[in-house]
Symmetry: D2
Subunit: 431 residues, 4 copies
């Protein structure tokens, strides 16, 4: 049976890998996920049912979404489910209610790819094996293809063993984790409000092959903002005083944003990663656009930086008499895994010998994750939540064009998550 | 008679030179001027009678004013007139009304000194002749001692010849020309509202010895502003995020003020001449003060720059969440001398051979003068106004610690101004 | 005969208008110009013979040049002359040496178009008459099509009357006047070193229809620079300290460049018109590019600003530990037309009644022209040079997508220039 | 005997409190310390013997030093020792060599006061008890008067018990701890090169009364720098282009220094605490001075920031064509207390019941201390070092004008340090 499952896991993963879809456009992926889960007997909630429209951040334009929809239809999407996803609300919650008393356990899997051009070197495994991305500048370079595949594998085991299970199991397939854009929307749609145990997971991230980390802490709270300044163009030689200079407003904003004070409550990060302004050498620039990212050791520190950014942008606009617009296109909070839940997973990992080594907790900083929204909501409601890592051999770092995982990690990941269900049912009884 | 007058002129000038008083503190000077004019039979208006309190700019504090008052009393001020000047309103308008029909002619003389430490080198003429400033960091380094003396000389000639004159003559002794702070206040007090011909004059300014310029145009409009930012101090190591950084607000303001756009209607000048911020290395600075000066080829161009400064200061304050305060401590407008009046003076100069050479008009830019307020008011009312220069041999440039004029310029200056009265009486009849 | 010439002028102009070529790519245009001049009996120097390679500024890449070459061959270029122009050296000097004693007189005509998308409104004359640009984002929106046509018209008259002429006549067809990129290259190739009288001309520029200006002064010296900063990218969350931030270097440069001091010798202009930096929100930007333009009332004032820009760019690079590169992609000096020559043209215009009105000199500031290089070289060698304007009815301002001239201006322009030759032959004898 | 010692401790402390001397000027204090230690039989090394001249940072000028020397002589300094201290090298190392085998144990006491105006409210204990500072703007507001007193108390106990001791004991009296200026100089003079156990101590710092902390970790590495820019003054209206603007260089430096990147290896702090530039509104500022402070979680992070500051200052100077000068006027490294030594002290504290509570280690961040130089040198040589805290009731925070300690803390502090000597002699035997 395991061999059959491995075959499926690899098949799914390679299929998703060939058709990578970026955040809020995971239509083909979602339609395939839905098809399989439907067949396995899960109850499905899809699209706007599980996503708050107002809380989607950095969603592509209607035009881009429409275009991708047509692409998906021509590239293997299952038409039957596409009505749910066609507007770019691509989340799915698949529930198995055993109707027997027991806890509600939820798992989060993210599905989106990146705007990276995958390597076509022969040494790159997906190239060699013929499952390289079919699209330029689209690539599963962070392992979400594997995550989705693990989710489907877990669903398979659950479906096969449903008579031995109790309580309720929810599998959450989330769009747009990259840029931390999708989780808040699903959290606000209350998809984890009834959850007792919540487990998010990730493959790789530097954890060695065959190693397991039950609680990966240290995610930074983060906010991604697009900022634009709109002024008035004017001929720089003829009528310079008639211009309202958006370029200088942006330059002043960029410098002063980087000069935001450190915070004594925790580390911060600030980056104006892009600045594009002006359309001609001899024209006072009337438009400037910035892409900004802030991070904080905890949500309140990040919030401090965010407020300072706001103040600086308003001030820079005022300085140059230009208008400004700020849009939050991604956001994640900080959250610490529940130690009690991490211990349950750690014990599963050690008991089953699914991994060579298991660690209860690791503090790996500097990255951000929006699974933290789910986690905090569950914890706020009295549940337990953790973020675990399946170590794997990486061909290259995450977000690298040569990124690749070891597919041997897929099965133990599925088996550990399945085992955790059994352990948590027991844990629930003991509490 | 001329010899006697020269003696007086030199005496007065040297007396004022020894007791230099800065803007709005010309109490000793004014009391002596008042004494002499009173004796000569002029009708006097003094202090608040000829100065709008609200329009005085950059006036010293009450404390400083009080202190200087006591100093003046102990250093030769005439107690009898001091009640008019004790609060720092040191302007005088001396009127001779001939009661005969004729034009109203006004002359402006400024009285204030500078905060400069006069040279005590033996080669410096006032040092050698024993009339060097008796006060450290106070010096008549711009010739206003000569101007006041010329005004008194003119008053003397007028008084001696009053039976031959017609119309009305007004001698305006203005405080605080330095920093362009005093003229607006007298203009707003309507002291030139009845004037047909207005003549301001200056000694030196680079015009060669024995030369006369009937109309010195090209004064730049200007605004002098004191700007302060007030934030919140905080320990830079312990609680940096609690500070509101006035130093950075000021630095951002200074840079962006200098980056204000050029104007296609005329030249501009911008200078943040001083910036003082902070009280300790390890404290977030909660206070910052700037001294700013803007200029424009005309008043509207200067107004443009001034508005930009305002916008930038408000924006810088907003950036750092600090409060700000802006105070205009000096201002002058632009104004072009009336060509018709300049020609009258030029003809006087040529006819009388008081000078070796006379020029109708010179365009010497980059400086500013608040006599322009008087000039514009007179012109707006249909009168004529000009700003003339008495060339002299300068020992060093204006505002230099070794500045000195040639006292031989005093008499011809007085005689020319007196001659102009006679010419203008004729001119008025011809119009 | 005039009617025939008008027909030709209009034909040429409309042909060039339909096939607009931007700076250093005027291959089709130049090959047609060469064909006609060759037929008319002029001696031709072409391409590198009349252009210093080292002094070409802002020349397109070899790739773009090659591509355009192929386009030109397919769109009416005369293959026989293309070897001269194929590398983008598209200048032509056509000389008629009468072998009779007399002055050397030169005329400058520029040939390049702009990257503007021509209007396709029916109200737009070229659209209505069917000679609109055949290329998107390429348009003769500054009248250089007319200039080239006038040059050919002048050549026609010269050829027809060559037996009545003496001295030498040089017709200079210049590439890349837009961006002030081409004239210096021809000047340095010494094409005007033997010239006694030099006449550059322009159509339009706000001068009314049927009016002529013999000397258009006030061109600002200018420098166009591309500036780039190259740093080191790094993950803004994970390893911010490893980045060398090109975006902040560029922002600091932009602000401080705008803060360059005014100059007391004349007006200046400064603009950072474009700033593009960074490739990702969460990456320290390793690349930033700026397009900068400076101007000065005279070459020395512009040189001052240029030096300051250089200093600031070097300083900004040092601040952030990044490399920088500066390239001058356009430059023009200031030059005042020779009044003596302007008077000759003015008298021609008045004598022949070719225009309703003629003005000797106009001071229209704020624009720049690289014909000044030719002018200054001629003047430095003891010759006379002027820049004259043929007023015309403009449908819209220069560089506007609806720009159009009145073709009735073409003939009088040609006739005036021809008449000036005769006058200048006489003038040369009188000197 | 304890009572007598308490009396002495209080007497010394109050005497020092009345005559506070700031860094490198502790002449009176040092001469009194020397007198007492000499009487107690310690071998003394003083002044340049124990301080490397080259490593003194932020030392007052010779003039200020001379002036203070005269003051000290008139205010109770012991003339006999003043030759050692008259040039401002005020350090003392007092050694008791028992000539018996045993470890070398060193204690550091700092002696300097602050430029703070002590409160004269009756509620302020030193005021009420009549031992308030006799000098305006000089105050022991950080407890170094108590430290010096504790050092003398410890010396007294050592002298009284010297026959029971073995090894060598060194008492280090350090100047200029404030601003972290003096310790490096003594370390470089090798005063701790032979030390096996090193104990620095501080009173207060927020630790509760009667509590003891054996190892206070978390001191930030820090650098204090004075930075000046020197340009060229020029009249802002007349010749702005001739100025080289030090004010703008300073403003650009300040902004960009604050924008220095965060470091992923640890927290940083940056502050431009003071900026003073310019001498007149209408003069391009030719001088600007900044006071800057950087900190880092460890020395290498602080070094990173310091290098960035250097780069930015050089770049800002280059931008404006001005000269610059940077001087390090204070510096401290980071260092972690030796846990083994901390445990010995902790056990002493608990065994003797000298304090109500004792903690082995506390991590109190954000401050800096130059005792870290001594600590690191000792640890580098294989010895143990710690920094301990004697908790006390504070009337107000450190560096506050109402700061005061509870004098009841003096005796237990002395007794604990003395007890540690006995424990360390034993510890040395066990190792």
């Amino acid at each position: 049976m395991s061999e059959q499952l491995v075959e499926k896991l690899v098949h799914w993963r390679r299929d998703f890998h060939q058709f990578p879809e970026v955040g809020f456009l995971e239509m083909r992926t979602a339609s395939i996920v839905a098809t399989i889960l439907d067949e396995l007997g899960f109850e499905l909630q899809m699209g706007r049912e599980v996503m708050s429209e107002a809380e989607c951040m950095g969603k592509p334009s209607a035009e881009v979404t429409k275009e991708h929809y047509l692409w998906a239809l021509e590239n293997g999407a299952n038409k039957n489910y596409m009505e749910h996803f066609s507007d770019g609300y691509t989340g799915i919650v698949a529930t198995l209610d055993t109707k027997k008393p027991g806890p509600t356990i939820a798992f989060r899997f993210d599905m989106d790819a990146l705007e990276i051009n995958e390597s076509s070197l022969d040494s790159h495994y997906p190239m060699k094996e013929g499952f390289k991305s079919q699209l330029p500048y689209r690539m599963h370079a962070c392992g979400h293809d594997a995550h989705t595949s693990i989710g489907l594998g877990l669903a398979t085991l659950i479906a096969e063993n449903k008579d031995h299970l109790s309580g309720k199991i929810k599998l959450i397939f989330q769009p747009a984790e990259e840029g931390t854009r999708g989780a808040k929307s699903m959290t606000e749609a209350k998809v984890v409000d009834d959850v007792d145990y919540f487990i998010a997971s990730h493959i790789g991230t530097g954890v060695p092959h065959h190693h397991f980390v039950a609680a990966n802490n240290g995610f930074l709270a983060t906010t991604k903002q697009n900022i634009s300044f709109s002024g008035v163009a004017s001929h720089a030689g003829g009528r310079p005083e008639e211009g309202k200079n958006a370029l200088l407003a942006a330059a002043a904003a960029a410098l002063n944003i980087h000069a935001i004070s450190r915070h004594s409550d925790g580390v911060t990060r600030i980056n104006v990663g892009e600045l594009h302004a002006g359309t001609g050498r001899n024209i006072i620039a009337d438009q400037a656009d910035l892409k900004v990212e802030t991070r904080g050791e905890n949500s309140s520190v990040n919030e401090y930086v965010k407020q300072q950014v706001k103040q600086i942008v308003a001030g820079a606009a005022q300085m140059y008499g230009v208008d400004y617009h700020m849009e939050t296109v991604g956001e994640a909070i900080s959250c610490i895994s529940s130690n009690e839940l991490a211990n349950v997973l750690h014990e599963c990992a050690e008991a089953k010998s699914l991994f060579q080594a298991s660690t209860v907790e690791v503090n790996a900083a500097a990255g951000s994750e929006d699974a933290t929204y789910f986690m905090k909501r569950v914890q706020d409601n009295g549940g337990l939540a953790t973020y675990c890592i399946f170590g794997t051999e990486l061909a290259a770092g995450h977000h690298n064009e040569k990124f690749d995982i070891d597919e041997n990690t897929l099965l133990p990941a599925v088996e550990l998550l399945y085992a955790s269900i059994l352990s948590l049912e027991k844990h629930a009884q003991m509490v």
